[in-house]
Amino acid sequence: MAEEDLFRSDHPVSASEDEEDGNEERRHRQLLEAVSSLAGRKRRKLAERTEASVQVSEFNLSCEGAGEKLVLPELLGSIRASSSLGIVKKQLNRVKQKKSVELPLSKEESERVVREAAYNKTSKAVAKWEQVVLQNRRAEQLVFPLKQEQMGAAPIEEVLTGWKARTPLEQEIFSLLHKTQQPVTDPLLTPLEEASLRAMSLEEAQLRRAELQKARALQSYYEAKARREKKIKSKKYHRVLQKGRSRKALKEFEVLRKLDPEAALTKLEEMERSRIEERMSLKHQNKGKWARSRAIMAKYDLEARKAMQEQLARNKELTQKVPVEPEGEEEGDMGGEGLLPDSINEVQPSTDGANPWMLGKPSSEAKDSGTQEDTKEPRESAAPEDSGNEGEEVSEEEILLQDFEQRRCTRQQAGSLEPESAGEAEEAHTFVELLSNVQMGPGVEQPARGPEGPLLSEQLGRRRTLEEIDALGQEEGAEEQEQPWPTRTLQESEEDGNAGGGCTARKAPKQKMINLQAVLAGESHAIQCPAQPVSVQDEEEEAADQRLVIKEAFAGDDVIADFLREKHKVEQAGKPQAVDLVLPGWGEWGGTGLRPSARKRKRFLIKPVPGPPRRDQHLPHVIISQQRNVLAAAHQVNEVPFPFDRHQQFERSIRAPLGPTWNTQRAFQKLTAPRILTQPGHIIQPISAEDASPQSTMPTRGGSAALPPTPQRSRHHQPHPKKAR
């Protein structure tokens, strides 16, 4: 209450009092007016104030919008354009456009703004290192110090750059050098040398070399072929060859006659001349060795006789004097074998390519058609081939090359297949698996990565010697062995699950001493499922029916027997095998049909040591896999380690050997290159902008800037691999 009173006393002005005040004021003013009017001088009429107001100006101006802002245009509107206040109006207009200045920020806030701006700017500036940093983090190898100094003497070009010709002699030499375009300041190669380098690039050279090689190979093939053909002793073959040639010559002659009669004439003369020579040679006089032998054989052998007759006919034909005839008849006579120009006798390797005799055609064919149609037969056979000859000539090289290509391909394939198909590969694989296998449950591909553990296992004991460290390794192995089955294996639990409902599974360990057969022979009891409480009798009956139905359905399948068989199989597979070291013929006689004696067999058959009892020995309905090697498990990795996603990746990484036993020297060096290389006694400076820029990362040599590094050139410059040590 007291507070309220106080409050009131603080604000004594009530509405009624306010009114009273106003009345008093008016009265006072009226009084003043009256007094002033008494003075006699007529005062100007003042505006009558009608409303009450707190603010009263001394000029008695009425303040209608007392609290409102004065708006400039209202003031300016009254000023006329012509009046002298025009300038003022303009100035006021200008003022109107400017806005009022905001309050300055507090010191803290302004500093904060500055800081933020500076931070953003610096972060941006620093971010330019991002790429370099990432690159260095990912780098296969980093060589420190980053700024590699050029060792050894500076190249002469660099020394020369600062040097200038001063004496007249020097200048003269310089001018001479310039004339020949000899580079003076930063030379590696003269333009001429460069041009010559450019003239033959590596690829061009390789192409040319390949061409030359091919040509040489083809030539050698032809030579070999010619040599082979020359060695052929078959007269028949040579005869046929000759005939073919003569036929070809005739054909050519025909063509020539049509195109160039004069040349044909000279050729004709030549042919005539050759015929005369043939006649002179007494070749077909039946006086040769062959002819004489034929003569002897002719009595008994029909074929020999035929051959003789043929020879005689030929002789007659040749020795016949040819009357000079008109040219049109020439054709008929020209069938003779001997009528050949000299040019035909020269080696014509190109025609030999498609020689049917060389292709190994059966000779019996020729024999059959033999004597009578001797002249006709080759003509027929040769005719189609002649047409195909040219095409084959062209394609022969290609065929040859294809052949080579094929052969090379097959060789390569064989090479690549061999190591894969080798039996040892599998063997090695098993060994690999022993170490590289990751022990994992099926389907567990990606382990959840827990928080990073400590890198060190810190202990109180100090291990100094190799033995102690060895013991360190064994400790863990011992631990592992002590509790080889720390948890129920996956398979175990699975089997448990399979063994039909929860109840029977519980029962299983208790029953293990009971004879299996007895158990299995007995009738199976109804199994009550505890998961669903059975309260209604009908349901149970229904379930029994269901069981009956199932029993009927699976009447044929003897699941239990199958299981027993499977278990037996597993047991047999798990048993160690006997090793037979019997060598037949060792210490006794050997041979087909002889077996080593029973004594030897008995002696060299090494019986296996019976392994430890199976863990499922007394568990009739369980197969416990004993694949897991406890001894090996101590050395195996339990989960996929960090950088790998799948265990296959990890296994692959383990399988690839690093050592010089399996890799070439270069590969070994590359595989074992350390990630960070430092040079002893060199100070490593912090990275700088020059180190980070890509130009300086490559080792630059003097004058390399003068030559644009094309890929071809760079290949030229590759250093020769140093002799491996």
Partner: protein, 452 residues
């Protein structure tokens, strides 16, 4: 070739002499090898055995301690590397004495009484001709690296008398500028007796200031009100401040990664930050069992070494949360300062009991020149160890370290505490409304705030 009848051709064996003649007598004889995998079976088991042996040998040969440099008459408080000479190192002690050491001879080559009270900070000029010290007597002193001539007196080149105690000093990497810290961060020109600019943000004593070696205008400092502040020298303004759970003792910039720095904290951890994203550290390095007092990066920027109050030093890979190595000796007390030499080979640590110790950075490394074959074998062993590092036997041997009992039990206790805390948090989460107690990662847990 053309079938010249009479000539007989004789085929001769022709070999390239390059295949069997050595270039010099020192070269090894070439032995042709057959790389057929069938001839070299069991590659994985063989390599595994080699890796196992290499790991064991590594542990056998792990003898990192090289030398102890004694001569100080009080605890070693600060050290500095000579920027140009690998064999020279400077150290300042708690009695105001500065010593310059020759590491190859392992002896002190110069001693000077620099300050009254502690030598709080020491740093060498980038050219290596002089060095600066700050001390408890509120002075900054500039000394020549070479001692005075015979009979001459040890006198500083300049002495700057300040108003307050300076607690640390660092020199710019390229310019004649240095920075001190104390009540504020001052940046000085070498030629002037008053700072070019003073950078402040709040009022608290700053314990350490470090120039960024790459972006040389950047500075980082840590103050005793638990924060790390970054500054830009060009704009003479602080940039950002991150407040941690506990006080940061010192920080060190990565010499290969411009925006990465690592801070040594009182809460036994080290935090590696990316200066662009201060909201959470890139990595928390946990292993020490007491306050971390100093940290120094290896010049390759891949690892750093930390000195701790728990009388041990540890080497951490930058990208790992735990240390790869721990060094301690019976006589080494609280390690106050640590340095990694600029050839990436050695570590120096100065401790309370007046000694500076020289360690190998790689505990089992063989010192001296290596024959190429030796080096190849070492590289091979190293790669083998890397390849089989996940195999349990090898891992176990490689990880084994001896610890003094104090650290061991302390670490165990801490582990239990951490586990208890984790369990409690887990339980709390389990029994509270889902989402009401969110999971906070280890990285974010220690950051209190980032102030712009």
């Amino acid at each position: 070739r053309r079938g010249g009848g009479g000539r007989m051709r004789v085929k001769v064996l022709s070999r390239n002499p390059d295949d069997y003649i050595r270039e010099t007598k020192q070269d090894l004889q070439r032995v042709p090898r057959n790389y057929d995998p069938a001839l070299h079976p069991f590659e994985v088991p063989r390599e595994y055995m080699r890796a196992l042996n290499a790991t064991k040998l590594e542990r056998v040969f792990a003898k990192p301690f090289l030398a102890s440099l004694d001569g100080h008459r009080d605890g070693v408080n600060c050290m500095a590397k000579h920027p140009q000479s690998l064999s020279t190192v400077l150290s300042g002690a708690c009695d105001g004495e500065v010593k310059i050491w020759n590491l190859t001879k392992r002896e002190c080559i110069r001693t000077l009484q620099a300050h009254e009270g502690f030598v709080r900070g020491i740093c060498a000029r980038f050219c290596g001709t002089s060095f600066f010290t700050v001390g408890d007597d509120k002075t900054v002193k500039h000394w020549k690296m070479d001692g005075p001539g015979y009979g001459g007196e040890e006198e500083p080149l300049h002495t700057i008398l300040g108003k307050t105690v300076y607690t640390g000093i660092d020199h710019h990497w390229k310019e004649a500028v240095f920075a001190t810290c104390g009540h504020q961060v001052d940046i000085w020109d070498e030629q002037r007796t008053s700072p070019i600019c003073s950078l402040t943000w709040g009022v608290d004593s700053i314990s350490s200031v470090k120039f960024n070696p790459i972006e040389t205008y950047l500075l980082g400092s840590c103050a005793s009100d638990r924060n790390i502040v970054l500054y830009d020298m060009r704009q003479s303004t602080p940039l950002k401040k991150v407040i941690l759970d506990m006080r940061t003792n010192t920080l060190c910039w990565n010499p290969m990664e411009a925006f990465i720095f690592t801070s040594a904290n009182e809460d036994h951890n080290l935090y590696t930050f990316d200066m662009r994203f201060l909201e959470s550290p890139v990595m928390v390095h946990i292993d020490h069992v007491s306050a971390v007092l100093d940290v120094d990066y290896s010049p390759t920027g891949k690892e750093f070494v930390s000195a701790s109050f728990d009388k041990s030093i540890r080497i951490f890979p930058v990208d790992k949360g735990h240390s790869r190595e721990v060094y301690h000796t019976k006589r080494m007390q609280h390690v106050i300062t640590v340095k990694w030499t600029s050839d990436n080979k050695y570590i120096l640590c100065g401790s309370d009991e007046m000694n500076i110790r020289l360690w190998k950075a790689n505990a089992s490394e063989k010192l001296g020149v290596l024959v190429p074959r030796e080096r190849a074998a070492l590289n091979y062993n190293q790669k083998l160890k890397e390849k089989f590092q996940h195999h349990p036997q090898i891992k176990r041997i490689a990880r084994h370290r001896h610890l003094p009992k104090a650290i061991y039990s302390q670490a165990k206790e801490l582990r239990i505490m951490r586990e208890a805390r984790r369990r409690k948090e887990l339980n709390r989460r389990k029994h509270s409304k889902p989402g009401s107690s969110p999971f906070v990662s280890e990285k974010k847990k220690h950051i209190v705030a980032v102030v712009k």
